[in-house]
Symmetry: C2
């Protein structure tokens, strides 16, 4: 099992802002996923990987591809109180799901 967290790097977000957005995505993914998937993922120690894309379009295309492959994809829109405009797409969670299925969608994306 694996949870992929994919962050836009073109917004100039600082490391604290990135961490908050990624945490938001991870929490949302856990709340929206099936209990069995969450339990299996937690049982393996919550494996996660943090990856990057360079544009919002790339992020949304990735989420569409994940959903087309039957994966849960949670796109986070920032409230915009700090650093970015309200509603800005900042990151996306894919999974938690079988690692192979997540890897098929995120293959080639570099680590953040």
């Amino acid at each position: 099992m694996k949870l992929a967290l994919v962050v836009r790097t073109d917004l100039g977000m600082g490391r604290g802002k990135i961490a908050a957005q990624v945490a938001h995505a991870a929490v949302t993914a856990v709340l929206e996923s099936r209990d069995a998937d969450v339990a299996a993922w937690i049982g393996q120690g919550q494996p996660k990987v943090v990856l990057k894309v360079t544009t919002g379009q790339e992020l949304l295309a990735l989420a569409r591809q994940a959903r087309a492959d039957g994966l849960l994809a949670e796109v986070i829109h920032d409230a915009g109180r700090t650093q970015v405009e309200p509603g800005t797409v900042t990151c996306c969670a894919i999974g938690p799901a079988d690692s192979d299925r997540v890897d098929r969608v995120t293959a080639g994306l570099p680590l953040l």
Copy 2:
């Protein structure tokens, strides 16, 4: 409501590593908290703040203080597959709880 996520800065973790550790802390806090607290926090849009301390001792003292004040404090020990030694304390989640109660423990800590 607020969830505070407090990160050690003395380990030299990169931004992706920090994001993964903070996400781990946030997910663990949500899973271990009372449903009513989680629901109230989610209903307000998952407010969170990412703060920093400079040593592991400071992080553990903060967690002890939070627990003494009746707050949930989840200390994350890294699996140590990358960047830090296995078992290293990397970050801590405090809450989600009433903002005033969280602020009382984390007052004075700088943003990450």
